[in-house]
């Protein structure tokens, strides 16, 4: 119980810290956000509308900072995220995010889970066949792939599979815009086609880390007495490999998974930018380009929440898989 409270406190604290950063960065960074805003919206909106936008963004220069801060926290937590002052001028932030979210969840979410699962599996086999041919090649290869810049892999893939092959695979946007979105086979096919290259980029750059950590955990675990005991009991090799070795080697990887989500998000921003893929990452890029404070703030909060949720899920999974952790709670 104490453990649960501690974790809960940690989540709240982190969320608060992220929100606070969000609030103070625009106010204390050099360059006046208000002027920037005024420049951006000059001629497009009246002074009155600008004032209204500013206040919806939580910027009320006449109010004291404490009051502004409290209002801002309340708005953020209650989903009053304001309206965009960037490209989609005047559109509510919630609806902009609502359009982009499914694409990122679909592309980045599925690919990340796939990379984690596949990488873990390959790592298990490589560690089990320690000293074999596979184990000799894999580690150096994946040390290299895990250090490659996301965007460079994306550019290479575009060059190879799109530019050189006369547009074999699309390298732009999330579906063929000549199609009408719907559950038609043509549209779904187009969506999948457009996802191939960005997903491959994310997979190539993130799978290496999982393979390496799982292989290394596996090797450490294989030296444990309980693995030898599994053999001594005459269990089938598969049972020893999964039920005794991998089952234990997997546990540290789980907490690593949550922590790595930050890197996945950075990958998502760069990859969606390169492929003009209209997900949350691309949205952050364009919000930053267009000085769209409300959108930026909300996105940053959502990214933090995403990582926190992942941490929470991994916490629960660890407690479910490891009785020693359960005992502590």
């Amino acid at each position: 119980m104490k453990h649960v409270l501690r974790r809960g406190g940690f989540f709240l604290l982190t969320l608060w810290a992220a929100l606070t950063l969000n609030f103070f960065i625009p106010r204390f960074m050099p360059g006046d956000p208000v002027n920037a805003l005024r420049d951006r919206t000059r001629g497009k909106v009246s002074e009155a509308t600008l004032q209204q936008m500013l206040s919806s963004f939580g910027f009320k220069p006449n109010q004291n900072l404490g009051q502004q801060y409290l209002d801002y926290l309340g708005n953020m937590l209650s989903g009053h995220w304001g309206i965009s002052i960037g490209q989609a001028l005047g559109e509510p932030v919630t609806s902009i995010i609502g359009q982009a979210l499914p694409w990122t969840l679909g592309l980045v979410g599925i690919t990340t889970v796939l990379a984690f699962g596949l990488g873990t599996l390959i790592g298990v086999v490589a560690g089990w066949k320690r000293g074999g041919r596979l184990d000799a090649i894999l580690p150096p290869l994946f040390v290299v792939t895990s250090a490659l810049p996301y965007f460079w892999v994306a550019l290479l893939l575009i060059l190879m599979f799109s530019v050189w092959t006369g547009g074999l695979l699309p390298s732009d946007f999330n579906y063929d815009t000549s199609l009408v979105p719907g559950l038609s086979p043509g549209f779904i096919g187009s969506v999948l086609q457009h996802a191939v290259l960005p997903a491959a980029t994310l997979l190539i750059t993130s799978i290496g880390g999982w393979i390496l950590t799982m292989r290394n955990n596996m090797i450490t675990t294989l030296a444990e007495d309980y693995v030898r005991m599994g053999r001594a009991k005459g269990l089938p090799a598969r049972k020893v490999m999964y039920g005794y070795a991998a089952r234990n080697a997997f546990l540290p990887n789980l907490s690593g998974f949550a922590m790595s989500l930050g890197f996945v998000i950075s990958g998502a921003i760069l990859i969606e930018y390169v492929f003009n893929y209209p997900g949350l990452g691309y949205l952050l890029y364009s919000a930053v380009q267009n000085v769209d404070y409300p959108l930026m703030q909300t996105l940053f909060m959502l990214f933090t929440v995403a990582v926190l949720v992942a941490v929470l899920i991994c916490d629960l999974a660890t407690a479910w898989l490891d009785p020693r952790v359960r005992a502590k709670e």
Binding site: T14, A147, Y150, L159, T220, K233, P236, G262, T304, A306
Partner: protein
């Protein structure tokens, strides 16, 4: 050892030795070398860019745009009319500066926060750890993007500050963990006793031992900085007029380099970023390998030795020795032949220096229902012998010759599949520490079930019944079938493991120091229980221990091992009362006798030899109190001694032609 000596012994001079050891380890690591070479090349280029290109201002629009590669423009020109190759050369410096400077300050921050948290402890530790964890979870890259934007088109300094602020947390966590583990180490304790100030201890005692982690951390932070900075500049959040790979990438993307026939403009700087990143990643991984040797790839040299050992092992157990898949086990009624007959069993470890013989031609017999004790110091090959008998060795160890005949079949010649039929049904194993030998994430009941299911087709009811039965045999409440290993006490765990070994009431139970993790009282009661179970169920036991007095009351026969060889074997009582080999004598003198009179305990000076290079002649000669000249050259065999020939010992002084006076003088002298 006096107190003063103790202090001197535990106060190492880590500074130089750590650095030198690290250097040697790095030199031998191929990944580290590859990484350093790449890094070195980039360093030279960044220091003397003028040497590598004749273009003096790479940003000037001096050439026609989008030229293909040619001798004049190795990598062609940009869409704006600059030479790609010379831009790359001049861009090296900034990327390196970002990597090194941001990596350095992030590491400093990690060390500062991590080590402070560990050493200040209490509330400060809580606060700093909390800060670290929060910083770890907040997604860094979006934050960098936002920060870079607010800070205006970032100068290099802003970029560096942002990278340091977002890059320290991961390292701080690791620093804290390692510093905590160091806190109570002897050499720090002695520094505190000497009255050194805390700051002194941290700087001169703690940090040097953390060198390897700190360097690895720097490399990780540098990698992170290179990739993040390039990503930021690629997005157009850097200074668009600076000379860097990231800026080149930005312009290339901005001008659609890929689509307009100038792919090298975009691919080449990306490759440079990748190479620099790979250099740091390779070195970083090399440090992981140096810190944990098990992760290292098997070296070619060692691979050769392994292959040679494996070839010998294959020759020792030709597959045709077992005629069919069905192993014809001896009838239980056939009690004439021993249950287990080990002949000439030899185990070799393959190491990079060559192979080392851990068990050298061991012979032993175990009859049905017999309790055989195997004793010897740590490192004399007893456990290796046990695992060789049970066929549980794993690389780099393997059985290279000899046979293990169990109920009429040679285990050495069997495949893993054939062995799995016999394992647990006919012989089972109990290991040293049940804490480590029981799977920590599965219940006792589940682990029993695994074993039963592998060998019998019981229904779930019968599995439960049998599990309850064996637990009750060892006196554990059956409710603990639902318990996990960590929920039981040390003694209970050990009993549970013994219960598991009895699931099929095998003919032979192989026990590797099953009591050594327990306190003396628990040891005794467990021994008594093992003996009772043995008498009740009639299985034979091979019991390995370093504590000779422990087996004195329980074993029927003793095998004394030294340096991989059997040096004495015989009925326990006889060996105890009149040890023949000087080593057995020494072992006996090293443990207090429970019943005997009080005598001064004597150890055996020195330690067991390196099995890769055993002494010539008698292996015990360097430590033997009654050593003679011929012991150093002549290798003794196992000689039969005593009227009944029940005792055998490996000592030249006991050769049949040796004069009896001399053998008697042995007892007097020692």
């Amino acid at each position: 050892m006096t107190v003063l000596q103790g202090a001197a012994a535990v106060t190492p001079k880590p500074r130089r030795s750590v650095g030198r050891g690290l250097w040697r380890a790095l030199r031998g690591n191929r990944k580290a070398m590859a990484g350093s070479v790449i890094l070195l090349i980039f360093l030279v280029i960044s220091a003397f860019p003028g040497l590598f290109t004749s273009v003096s201002d790479p940003n000037a629009l001096a050439f026609p745009p989008r030229l293909g590669p040619s001798s004049g423009h190795l990598l062609g020109t940009t869409g704006l009319g600059q030479d790609v190759y010379s831009q790359l050369i001049y861009g090296t410096r900034q990327s390196l500066i970002i990597a090194v400077v941001a990596g350095f300050f992030a590491t400093v921050l990690s060390v500062l926060i991590g080590v402070s948290a560990a050493y200040l402890g209490g509330v400060m530790d809580d606060l700093l750890s909390m800060l670290t964890n929060v910083a770890l979870v907040i997604p860094a890259f979006p934050l960098i993007v936002i920060l870079a934007k607010y800070a205006g088109h970032g100068s290099l300094t802003v970029l560096l500050v942002v990278l340091v602020v977002t890059g320290w947390a991961y390292g701080a966590n690791q620093m804290r963990a390692q510093a905590l583990s160091l806190r109570n180490r002897d050499f720090l304790e002695s520094a505190r006793v000497r009255g050194e100030r805390r700051a002194y201890i941290i700087v001169f005692e703690v940090l040097p031992t953390m060198t390897s982690l700190i360097v690895a951390n720097f490399l990780g932070a540098a990698l992170y900085s290179v990739l993040s900075a390039a990503g930021l500049q690629f997005l157009g959040l850097g200074d668009p007029n600076s000379s860097s790979w990231g800026t080149m990438l930005y312009w290339a993307q901005n001008q659609q380099a890929l689509q307009t026939g100038a792919p090298l403009w975009s691919i080449a700087p990306g490759l440079c970023v990748a190479l620099l990143g790979v250099a740091f990643a390779l070195m970083n991984y090399a440090f992981d390998e140096i810190g944990n040797p098990a992760l290292r790839p098997v070296k070619a040299k060692e691979r050769k030795v392994r292959a040679a050992v494996a070839a010998k092992a294959a020759a020792a157990g030709p597959p045709e020795a077992v005629v069919s898949q069905d192993i014809a086990l001896q009838d239980a009624a056939d009690t004439d032949a021993p249950l287990l007959q080990v002949r000439g069993l030899t185990v070799e470890y393959a190491t990079a220096r060559g192979s080392s013989v851990a068990v050298a031609g061991v012979d032993l017999d175990v009859r049905r229902g017999e309790f055989l004790g195997v004793v010897g110091e740590s490192g004399c090959g007893k456990s290796t012998l046990l695992f060789a008998i049970a066929r549980l060795l794993s690389a780099p160890a393997s059985t290279t010759s000899g046979s293990v005949t169990f109920k009429g079949s040679n285990l050495v010649a069997m495949t893993e599949k054939q062995l799995n039929v016999l394992r647990w049904r006919d012989y089972s194993v109990v290991m040293q520490s049940a804490m480590n030998a029981l799977n920590p994430v599965r219940t006792i009941g589940a682990q029993f079930k695994d074993a039963i299911e592998a060998h019998a087709d019981y229904g779930s009811e019968k599995i439960r019944e049998r599990s309850v039965e064996v637990l009750q045999l060892v006196g554990i409440d059956p409710v603990h079938l639902k318990s996990y290993p960590h929920q039981l006490s040390g003694g209970m765990r050990q009993r549970a493991m013994i219960a598991m070994a009895l699931l099929f009431t095998p003919d032979l139970v192989i026990m590797d120091e099953p009591t050594s993790a327990l306190d003396v009282v628990a040891q005794r009661s467990l021994m008594v229980q093992i003996k009772e179970l043995q008498q009740l169920l009639g299985f034979a036991v091979i019991f390995v221990t370093h504590d000779m007095s422990l087996v004195s009351r329980f074993s029927d026969r003793l095998v004394v091992m030294y340096a991989g060889q059997v040096v004495e074997t015989g009925p326990t009582r006889t060996v105890f009362d009149t040890p023949s080999h000087p080593y057995s004598k020494g072992l006996l003198d090293a443990f207090p006798s429970i019943h005997g009179e009080r005598v001064e305990l004597k150890g055996i000076p020195g330690s067991p030899p390196d099995l890769g290079n055993p002494p010539s002649g008698c292996r015990f000669n360097p430590r033997c109190p009654v050593v003679q000249e011929r012991c150093r050259s002549q290798e003794p065999e196992l000689y039969q001694i005593g009227e009944l020939g029940q005792v055998k010992a490996r000592c030249l002084l006991l050769t049949p032609d040796n004069e009896p006076q001399e053998s008697r003088s042995l007892e007097v002298n020692s």
